[in-house]
Symmetry: none
Subunit: 241 residues, 2 copies
């Protein structure tokens, strides 16, 4: 039920940051995060385009990496068209809204730079791709429009106020999954797993997707980290076993 | 099922007419009607803002009055905030879309001038007022945004908007998950991971739950099995890496 955080990844124009803030506030979203905006932050062009949504801009938080921006979020969506280079769920805005409403934890939606959209590495950090189904012969949504449609879809459902799903354990925040992936990555590097070098990035994306989709809780992430330590460590068979 | 006609009543800026056309075409709407646009028609400012939705502008029809513009429509909605001076139904976008889809005849949605919105006389011509439910403390939708939200809501229900297929890889059969768990178990036994013996069964249950809930596909199970082999194996760092 907590409103999603809107994360603009490497946005180019301050004007579009302002428009996104305005789009958000129309539907009650107030948490904006910016990952390395091209022209720095604050940006004097943002305010005039926000048409009064200044509170969103004033509270906007700045991050150096997408990983840092989503570290406290358990559920992350990448707003983009389908990516054929990644095997991950592709859902529509309705399904996204349903998942956000069902989650008792923080969620976030990533939007890429105006011109190019999210990079594969950004998308790989998300739990799912969310795509607004548009005219296959004319797809031309700008950043603020993508934001407003997803914000609207979220707010459509907030009146219904569905009770949060009775999960046994809630999924761990992305920061913890990240820690697990980094540990695994370091061990795999030590073992010379990434070979040839030309395939390394693709393999890393695959590993990230595999472990991001698990829905593991904090306790389970800890358990898996212990398993990885055991696998790479020396045998500690004891006489009494 | 016929798509609604979008009618801009006395629009002020050509730029906004172009943006509305772009918003429409994203969701498959192509019929635009203009009632006495302030700066005449055609307007050279419209094209550049349409971002390629030129076909909508080229086919736009010009009318002198709202009455003439809606003469062939059986179902007309006025997009505005609630009007306390009129006794007529006020519905949300969803209900509007339902009615449009249920109607075998032409329908239209009226949008007023950017600054002032529809006049009472315009609204009175409609069958119902349609209002996008927005933040009561910050309602700031511009013309193109109002158009895109209603166009989106219409298209959500049409064939065009079948949510993108979740072409996920299907989860692997349980036998494959079993194979993964058995492999992991054997490696963990070799490392002396299960200790003390009294906790072994509980730990095994935990591991089974952790890996069963992942939803991994056959391909992903294979990848994880490769990762486990790499973690327990000798380093195979190559000179060229």
């Amino acid at each position: 039920m907590t409103p999603p955080i809107i994360i603009l990844v490497r946005p180019q124009l301050g004007q579009n940051i302002g428009k996104a803030a305005r789009a958000m506030l129309n539907f009650g979203l107030t948490e904006l995060r910016l990952v390395t905006p091209r022209d720095g932050w604050p940006n004097p062009d943002a305010g005039p385009s926000a048409s009064g949504a200044d509170i969103v801009l004033e509270r906007a938080q700045l991050f150096d990496t997408v990983e840092a921006a989503i570290a406290d979020c358990a559920l992350v969506f990448a707003s983009t068209v389908r990516r054929r280079d990644l095997v991950m769920p592709v859902i529509g805005p309705e399904e996204m809204a349903t998942q956000i409403h069902a989650s008792p934890q923080r969620s976030a939606i990533l939007f890429g730079p105006e011109r190019s959209g999210l990079e594969t590495e950004d998308v790989a950090l998300a739990n799912a791709i969310v795509t607004v189904p548009i005219n296959p012969d004319f797809g031309s949504l700008n950043l603020a429009q993508a934001v407003i449609l997803l914000a609207y879809e979220w707010s459509r459902r907030s009146a219904l106020s569905q009770p949060p799903a009775k999960e046994l354990e809630t999924p761990a925040p992305h920061g913890e999954i990240d820690g697990l992936i980094n540990q695994l990555d370091a061990e795999l590097v030590a073992k010379g797993y990434f070979h040839p070098p030309s395939r390394t990035q693709a393999t890393r994306n695959t590993i990230r997707t595999i472990f991001t989709k698990t829905g593991w809780s904090s306790r389970e992430v800890k358990a898996v980290r212990g398993i990885i330590r055991a696998l790479v460590g020396p045998s500690r068979n004891r006489s009494e076993t």
